[in-house]
């Protein structure tokens, strides 16, 4: 045998072997393409529609028209009048009058100072260039024929604007201080809320993980409660506490709760559980050996804290910071309820779209809002990728030792936080049960007669349940299956990494922006998917897409824990992969599947921002009802509906818990030895 050549450095040229695709490969790739298409249609296309909308400007162009005026007998002398010259002569319109929205109209009679709709004078008008458009009444004329009209009809002539593409909207936005100020406001509020929330949540998590205080279980439960309610509920509670007729109004020493103070306090409330969860996870995984080493080196507790505790929790802290920042800056419900005259970006979108029907400007604000959101998201992903597992298999879990003084301090601190959270919820519940705050404090259920209020009545509550269930079932199926295809299929590398990227995108897109983008995309009559506009379907799609990323990551994490070779074994046994999926993968991943469905259910019930532009009178939702009733001044019913959401979600959580335990006991017997 000759000496083998271990130093070969290149392959001979020639074609590379291409695998024949098995049925499974085709099924899996097909599935992946379908789900990727779903994400493209429900995410990429709408966002593109919105982006192009933000660059669309509309303007009246007088030069596109020509007119003629007859004498008193209705005889034309053939003189063609140019409206531009007419305007120059009469000064009828300022330049600013020509700026328009997509639906604007401009009446032309102002160009003729002598115009009277009773006069016998006749008028002629035509489009001088192709593409010109004007209305007579509601009839559109876009040809170039002369149209002869009597005075009374000429009164009803309206010009339509010309669409062009450019940055005018953005220029307009940044030169309008009322709008531009919101950027600063949003950033300031988000930063302050982030610092406060992360600090409070860190010490709370620290108390729960590193002290021996009592009632840890209760505190953990309380800390998670805000996740179960819409973000605008704390706003309502704050109105009752510190508003114009609030019971603790004096505590603010004349400052108003309507504005930055209210937004920050409310933001701390609704972002607290998110920050707490992340930091708590970071603190829970700690290596006791590091602390033993610190003690043996005679480091003071203070020094140990800064050299061991903080560094090991730093990724958690940073991640929590980004998450809170993102939640606050994209939140709409809270500043809407308690913001008063203090403008924030998300509210601006709402005001532009709902209040002023200025969709282009709404799109511009959305684009502006996406920037910090994507920035925070990208930074967070970057930091997460830097994080390496600090805990090796040989780590010894940290066991806190009792310290009477510190434990008492932590208990007092945690009680204060707990009081804050429970207090907010209790105020809402109390206000909902009171007859007429603050004059008649006797209890009644009047505020639960939602059908008598503005906001959709009990129907909106049932709609919400329906939305929650549909989102949970459909969302979990689509997301888990998609994650499985990406995680476990062979080859198709480009397609798979592309899919992973698209799946991460929804997290960076604020709900308001997604909702607005859906208007532009799905409400376009030219879109065949237009039929779902105004139905429950679009709400489900919006909710699934909006909450896609977290669910996807949960699924991927669970799937990564499955043996990589299951698919290989199944293929070697000539069994279809889908059999493996239903008989092994899904049952083994059932805990994750249930987690995803409860996450989707709860969020579908509490979200306002993702659905506020998309509901129709038939599909009004509980969270929207809270918003609308509050808007209409029915604050107590709003609080009542908010608490209905809370109890529903709490109930769902309990059912989820019982179900998980039951299902686990039955199907996961194998876990026990």
């Amino acid at each position: 045998m000759s000496t083998p050549s271990t130093n070969i450095t290149s392959m001979p040229p020639g074609p590379v072997i291409k695998s024949k695709l098995s049925r499974d490969d085709i099924v899996m790739r097909g599935g992946m393409v379908v789900i990727a298409l779903y994400l493209i249609v429900t995410l990429a296309f709408p966002l593109y529609a919105m982006l192009s909308k933000s660059f669309s400007t509309y303007r009246f162009e007088l030069s596109q028209y020509e007119m003629q005026v007859s004498d008193q007998d209705g005889v034309f002398d053939g003189t063609v009048l140019n409206p531009v010259d007419l305007n120059a002569a009469t000064g009828a319109f300022e330049d600013a009058d020509f700026s328009a929205g997509s639906d604007s109209r401009l009446a032309v009679t102002k160009l003729f100072p002598d115009f009277s709709f009773r006069s016998p004078v006749m008028y002629q008008i035509r489009n001088a260039q192709p593409g010109g458009r004007f209305l007579v009444g509601s009839t559109l004329h876009d040809d170039m024929e002369w149209l002869t009209l009597d005075s009374n009809s000429f009164r009803r002539v309206q010009l339509r604007p010309v669409k062009s593409t450019g940055v005018d909207n953005f220029v307009n936005y940044f030169s309008t201080p009322a709008l531009f100020n919101s950027v600063k406001n949003s950033l300031v509020i988000a930063v302050i809320s982030t610092v406060v929330t992360v600090t409070l949540a860190f010490w709370f998590a620290y108390a729960l993980n590193r002290s021996c205080m009592r009632f840890k279980g209760v505190f953990r439960l309380i800390a998670m409660a805000p996740i179960l309610v819409p973000s605008l509920l704390p706003g309502i509670a704050l109105v009752y506490l510190f508003g114009n007729q609030g019971m603790l109004k004096e505590l603010l020493f004349g400052a108003s709760i309507y504005g930055p103070i209210g937004i920050v306090i409310g933001s701390v409330f609704f972002t607290f559980p998110h920050a707490f969860l992340i930091i708590s996870t970071a603190l829970a995984i700690s290596d006791a050996r590091l602390y033993e080493a610190a003690v043996s080196l005679r480091a003071s507790p203070w020094r140990t804290f800064w050299t061991v505790t903080i560094p090991s929790a730093r990724y958690g802290l940073i991640s929590a910071g980004f998450v809170v920042f993102n939640l606050v800056i994209t939140d709409f419900g809270l500043p809407k309820v308690i913001g008063g005259q203090f403008n924030m970006l998300a509210v601006d979108i709402y005001k532009q779209v709902i209040g002023q029907q200025n969709f282009e400007m709404g799109a511009v604000v959305s684009v502006v809002l996406i920037v910090p959101a994507i920035f925070a998201f990208a930074l967070d992903r970057y930091v997460q990728s830097k994080q390496v597992a600090t805990l090796s298999a040989r780590s010894v879990p940290f066991q806190p030792s009792p310290n009477a003084k510190m434990d008492r301090i932590f208990l007092i601190y945690s009680s204060l936080i707990g009081l804050f959270i429970v207090g907010i919820l209790a105020v809402c519940q109390f206000a909902a049960l009171v007859k007429f705050w603050p004059y008649d404090l006797s209890l009644s259920l009047n505020n639960y007669q939602f059908d008598k209020m503005d906001g959709g009545g009990w129907n909106s509550y049932y709609n919400s349940i329906k939305l929650g269930l549909l989102t949970a079932v459909i969302g979990t199926s689509v997301i888990f299956f998609g994650a499985y295809l990406v995680e476990k299929s062979n080859g198709f590398r480009v397609g798979r990494s592309l899919f992973q990227m698209i799946a991460m995108l929804p997290m960076a897109i604020p709900g308001m922006v997604l909702g607005l983008a859906y208007i532009f995309f799905f409400n376009n009559p030219a879109n065949p998917l237009n039929v779902i506009y105004g139905t429950m379907a679009i709400l489900v799609i919006s909710a699934v897409t909006h909450f896609y990323t977290v669910s996807h990551l949960t699924a991927v994490t669970a799937l990564k824990q499955m043996d990589r070779e299951f698919e290989s074994v199944s293929a070697s046994l000539k069994q279809p992969t889908m059999k493996l999926f239903t008989r092994v993968t899904v049952p083994v991943c059932l805990p994750a599947v249930l987690d995803i469905s409860i996450y989707l259910f709860v969020n579908a019930l509490t979200t306002v921002s993702a659905v506020v532009f998309l509901y129709s009178p038939k599909t009004s939702l509980a969270s929207i009802a809270v918003l609308n009733m509050d808007d209409a001044g029915d604050i107590a019913p709003a609080a009542a509906m908010g608490m209905m959401i809370f109890y529903t979600n709490a109930g769902a959580r309990i059912i989820h818990l019982i179900l998980s335990k039951g299902v686990l006991r039955r199907t996961q017997a194998w876990r026990a030895r």
Partner: protein, 378 residues
Amino acid sequence: MTQATASGDLYLSITNLWKAFGEFLALKDISLDINEGEFICFLGPSGCGKTTLLRAIAGLDLQTKGEVLQDGKDVSNLPPSQRDFGIVFQSYALFPNLTIEKNIAFGLENTGRGKSEITARVNELLHLVGLPEQGKKYPAQLSGGQQQRIALARAIATNPGLLLLDEPLSALDAKVRVHLRHEIKELQRKLGVTTVMVTHDQEEALTMADRIVVMNQGVIEQVGSPTEIYREPANLFVADFIGEMNQLPATARGKAGISIGADSDIVKSQEHKFADGEAIVAAIRPEDVIPHANGSGTPDETDVIGDPENVFTVLIAEMEFLGSFWRCRLQNEYFCDSELIADLSINAVRRFELEAGKTMVVELPQNRLMAFPRSEAS
């Protein structure tokens, strides 16, 4: 040497196989023939490409270039589901939520077999692997060795033509491992299934394989029966990787002669192809060194010296007791800075009254003294 030793017909034929991961070549121009019913081991250090080759045979990670013929059929570009093999992984990959029975039955379903037929086959397999009572349990309730056997039963349930074992024993305790080695080999012999096993454990390969394929850095260094591989390594890598091998700098002298170091008297060696005077490496296994006398020079009357030229007087620098034998480090001016390691029987040490610091006479027998090119020395 690539000729198969087992009697069966050619079953698996690999021709000019290449596998590239980006710039890195994991397999370089691999060609290999495997006969029906053979037990083949791919042996090599980690990263040598042995698992990559196995996965290419299975179709789990397709090769970049090259052909794989199985049972006369070109399977080069077929997906795993269209090939004929059963596989056992290091992790066993038993489905954790299915009972042992269901695990074994997994591949039997949808194959036109009736329920009772499947049950019968499962029971047969459980008996075959010696776990007849465990069918209702879940994998986590079995020991590692038992799980291993279930994975094996599942892999052979459908009577595949080829059994692939990817480091099947490396997750087990040493004792269980030795026991299972024997069982797997027995089972394979009984079933007569062509088997390819990947391992980095030379003992495993030597005891189980009909033929061993020694791999290194993406190429096959040698193919041969365990004794061939051990007694006639094709090169220094094989010599060094399998068993222990003394390597002494030497110079070629004639067709079957060498000088140890640069200038010892010419000693006889195996025939080699080196030119006279070429710098080479002389190699001999420690157990092949023959002791003849202690330093006082009184040769044993009964002792017969095979090659008088191949005798050296050495200083015993160190002796290490290893239970069944002594490992001795021997020095001689011709060995330069290298030491010659000799594994001497307890009997010989007693007979020659050997101890560290004394001198003794050893023979490097001609038929065990090999010559390799110097540049290969690792």
